[in-house]
Symmetry: C5
Subunit: 358 residues, 5 copies
């Protein structure tokens, strides 16, 4: 609240990097009020409130893509407040040359605003793609080790990594969606596409030319559609990756459950053994009592009883084990309907589909 | 039912706070019948049945946002029934100054209805945002402690907190959706946007001016679109948070399952030990019987049998443990297809995407 | 099939309750053929095949809402086949007075068909709302007791109740959806809205008036939109309640799993104790054998061995317990990335959002 | 591949059943080439590649509904390749009479193509409904026995039945969706509806009549809309049934988990007992050793030690059980916020909704 | 980066296979610059950045379907960069003959671009269908063995196979979606459909003919719609298969849980037995102590105590087992509401639906 008060008393200052049409790049500081008077805009046009937006106002394109705030005029591209977001390197090493025609822009034969817009949109798509590219191997690595059927319990650090990346994917999905919507908002209205073609309205010479040969609006539509498609492919990849995580989670659960069942059966088998030993051990305990059984003197009885104890335990255990075996698998398997075995979908309907247009 | 009867006999009374264009703020009580005759409305126009609605009627904007009921005319803003909802402070300390031009409204250069609408919409968005801001740290805190891989069982109070916040998120999601829909309903019809510009129709002077310079309808569209975008960002954040809860729940389950498997293996290993001891203990029990084995006199036999008991138990246990180890991990791991290892998505398709518009 | 045959030979009979414009209510039986000739309709117009539909035909509104079948003409409202569905009370006690202007209809100043339609739509919404109101406390009650972290196993009757209510919610959701769609079908076509205003076409006097002052079609649109909004709020509440059930199920599972883990740990700790006792008990068993150990005579040996047995068991158990403690919590907790702790969403993006339109 | 080759050399033959306008039914074989020349169609119009499609071509309606392939002209209805799909009975016993006006078609006063279309669409809806009707009791039966809280483990045959029916529901859902889409494709374009009214274009007399009284296109729209609504109701029922299966699965899991927890507690209680017995049994084992304790001669010691063993076991067990009881239920239940208890949705928001349009 | 640099210095070269209208097939290498000058295109038109796209530019159709890049002119079809993707066989053995009229194309009577387009679209649909056909049996096989109720733990290799195929299905779903969208983009705009009919604009003779008889645009729409429908059927099948996997996973979990519950009950029963034996074994241990009980001399006592031990164990065990039985099934089953038993959906609502249009 304090900072707001001071901000309203002192006019805010933008750090501006200016890319001229002819390749000149200058960097300066400008008061906000100066800037918007210079550009013929209103104060509210330069508020940059939203994460992603592309608007035109008074024959100027105002564009925000997360930390990148840019203003495109027919003559130059201004990038505002670029410091501290790691944009500097890209601005100097890539954007400058691209706008000067040295890069590999598709639109280098078109007016300046096309080149600027393409460079900015491509930067945005590349940033989003880079986020996916960074998460992709981590996710695959986490999943690969978690899905591994040999493991008895999930690796906690991998799990944590997966959760973080899962969160990252959701955020990426939202950002791609917002980017797509901001492009769609323009593509849905022909009027807005027209407004994006700045040179068409300022430079009569170009306008005439365009009324003959290339249609600027059509080129703009193709340019935006191109990035819409790229964003959609990015969105599809993100969605597939999320789906893969979901599927893998089911597999992880089945794995853990399977392990548990296997261990439980082993445990049960041993419990059966212990029970058998306890049961027949009771005979031994009985004969160990300081009570007279009148059998004490007969030397064969020792071996007889010992034999009964061991053999009896063994026999009972075997019976219990075979009982367990019978108990776990149903005596008569339920008759599996033939429809399932024969691959119903493929046979009953696939044939129609395979046919195609013959 | 009783109150309804009495309400129909006695004309209902509104407590009204009136914000004049010139900054005057007055508060009074008015009979409902008086109020709507004064405004040229019909009784049914002031029923405020829905949670969220923005309508125009007879050049007056009637707006309801949950407990906030407001009427905007070109001259003044009336807030109805504001008591008991905690609105008083905001009305006096924020809304008054904002309308008087002291605040930081974008539209302070535009007619009164723009300022009033902006202040009300901003209040609504801030209220919704505040609900998210309140829940966000609680949810993150609950999740953080629940996801913690060290915990063996979920903390019940955290779980309860999470459920409550989950419910709160669903409600917030609905409210944001309803708010967005009420804005979209207006934005979808140009006619409705025109009707929102009250001054345009009442003040010919302004209307002329607007037909020259600034288009009121366009400004209104920008204003509403702005809040639509903010509501969408809010909705996106809510959705992401819900997604995070879902993802975390999977992780919680995997954690709990992992713990269980680890404990089950330990339990199984000990059961194996106990079984081994029982088995060889049976020898001891046998020799403890009061029966003659003819070995009683030989002093070496004691040590022999005792040794057999302990060593035998140990050996059998070791065999069982190594059997368990072999049993749990498959002897030959299933050959993992290379397609998975190599990161199919990235290699086979990512390259096309990375390229961008070159 | 038999009844169909007899139905086609004998003309079917409708029990009709007739609400005249002037408040008269009469009830009679009418042959279907008579009825549709009287109204100028065709046989197929009175089939009432669908659960919910609102159609106009020959300046008559035909409306079906589940068991309520009604025909609205500019002069009267006919309710057909009302017996046996519990509608009688509503028809006599509420609908009659409402149409006679005694109730609290919004549209009592508008032509008869508006009042009839409002009364019918309000009845429908109230019926749907009543179903939700009935299920809501039952669901909350079931969930409250199921979510209770103290319970070890889910209460079966509550669970059954929840399943039944869950089914009821799905059906309510469908009915609300169908109701909304039948309203939307009319609202989407201006022509259909016009057709709903019966009086406009039959009474030239009213038509002229309407061409001056109030626009009937606009009032009809507002009326239908009003009920669409109410249905949407109902749908939102239903959806939220279903979401709450889903969220609660996760919590129930986590609770049950947590209980299980806690019990399993206790079990494991006791198994450790039993193992320790078995291990050192073996010493006792060894000395209990009727074999000569040459230690029999020394009285200190008894206390020594007994001490070893008890102390040894205790020590081993303690080691095992501390091993379990170490085993369950990882020695070095995975370094939790700071991004999670600091509440990434709030800090990195929330600030942009909070700002609003400044 | 071989059959394709032979099919192209030899002209394919259709088995055709012909229903004339006047009620005549004839059945014959026709070469495909003959057929389409006779009807003025092209070869590709009679390929019937898709599962469900309704198209018009050269004033002829070509319709395919899974195995039912039909051609409707203003004069007759041709059903092609009807053998081997169980259609014969329906064709002879139902379709014939219906077209001859004996059935209960809504459209029997309208031109022939209406009757034919209605009969075919009704057959399709009935077929789809029959599939649902067949699966519905099986699913309810399976669910009822699986949801039964008494069962400890799921009945495998019921489970298998449920899976098969679940698959069947998915297929039914797809078929209903495809059917709806094929109707919607026509309903979305007025031109296509017009084309469906064959008689309007061929019989000038009827056309004039229609331009006066009944509008054929409107009747066609009502007919198709009617079946669209029926398909939607069918789709809603299918969706609800799938939802019920999902909800039931949660209940099954909660049931199985509850059983497990109950058994685990019993197991734990017994393990506690066994542990207590082992612990105090060790005393007995100690005194059973052939070592001198100098207590051998005192007859009271026997009863003392025996008493300690039994009472001690009992006491320790009791302590452990009460410890378990305390451990499983938290000493201080988490304070449940009042918002949940009071039924927040109903109280805070329901009141607004209940009000309706008063 | 290095390869990019070299690519920009050296003009890229396309390997081109050319299918002339008259059946000639030639294969050559062409510089990219030559190619686009020859075709009157711009450099950026031949970038093939997206996975799937169909565009027209300067009366030429440019089409990309994953690895297949094709250019259709009214005179010939060029396939670019076809090597290394396994397309060679299809190009030579199928595409050539099809375009020459030997195949079974629907459009062989229409201009060349129709035939080329049909052949390419059919290839695409066949490729997608082949992917589904390949995965379908594998998935059914995996599911069949995993769903098998006899198995105690999931087969890991089957599970891994399922996960891989699940991933494959997601990718197929995306590809089908993208294919559908690229067709829909054209079908949604009449202008684009017109542009696809190349011959119409180049060959006046054909154009006149078309203005009389067959409408090219309509044929093009039918052709594209046909493949849209096929893609939709493919998408439906993919979706059903994913649904089947989901349903099966639930069944797998229920199976594993059921097995676990059965084993746990057996385990519990044996633990009960062991407990009983321990309890009564304690008597034996007591009498085994070297302490005087004064019962040593009575020979009947031995048999009495032994009998008590065995019978007592047995009796206690039986009591515990019956307690378990009572504990697991509730004494009074919850009264199942009749609504569920009677099949509510079918009876209360199904009757309305079954009726149909009577």
């Amino acid at each position: 609240k304090v900072s707001e008060a001071s901000l309203s008393s002192v006019a805010p200052v933008f750090v501006v990097m200016r890319f001229e049409k002819n390749g000149n790049v200058t960097s300066s500081e400008k008061k906000k009020t100066e800037l918007y008077q210079e550009l013929g805009l209103q104060a509210r046009d330069l508020r940059f409130q939203h994460q992603t937006s592309i608007t035109t106002r008074n024959n100027i394109i105002i564009l925000q893509m997360e930390s990148l705030k840019a203003i495109v005029t027919p003559e130059c591209l201004l990038v505002l407040d670029f410091r501290g977001f790691g944009l500097d390197k890209w601005l100097v090493l890539e954007l400058g040359p691209q706008l000067a025609g040295e890069g590999t822009l598709v639109t280098y034969s078109l007016p300046f605003e096309f080149r600027a817009l393409e460079a900015l949109l491509q930067h945005r798509v590349n940033t989003l793609q880079a986020r996916l590219n960074e998460m992709h191997p981590q996710i695959m690595d986490s999943l690969e080790s978690l899905v591994d059927p040999k493991i008895l319990s999930a690796d906690r650090s991998k799990l944590h990594m997966l959760l973080l990346n899962s969160k990252g994917l959701s955020e990426l999905e939202t950002d791609v969606k917002v980017f797509k919507e901001s492009l769609l908002k323009i593509l849905d209205e022909d009027e807005l596409i027209e407004e994006m073609c700045l040179t068409k309205w300022t430079d009569p010479r170009v306008f005439e030319e365009s009324s003959l040969g290339i249609d600027h609006a059509e080129e703009m539509e193709l340019l935006l559609e191109n990035y819409l498609l790229q964003a959609e492919e990015l969105g599809n990849n993100t969605r597939e990756l999320k789906g893969l995580i979901d599927d893998s989670e089911s597999v992880i659960f089945i794995n853990l459950d399977s392990h548990r069942n296997v261990m439980m059966r082993l445990n049960l088998q041993l419990t059966m053994g212990t029970f058998s030993l306890s049961l027949f051990g009771l005979i031994g305990v009985a004969f160990g009592m300081n009570l007279e059984s009148n059998l004490e003197e007969d030397p064969r009885v020792f071996w007889l009883v010992t034999g009964i104890m061991f053999l009896g335990s063994g026999l009972i255990w075997r019976r219990l084990l075979s009982f367990l075996g019978r108990h776990l698998e149903p005596s008569s398997p339920p008759p599996i309907p033939p429809v399932w075995k024969k691959g119903h979908i493929a046979s009953a309907r696939g044939t129609d589909i395979k046919g195609g247009v013959r």
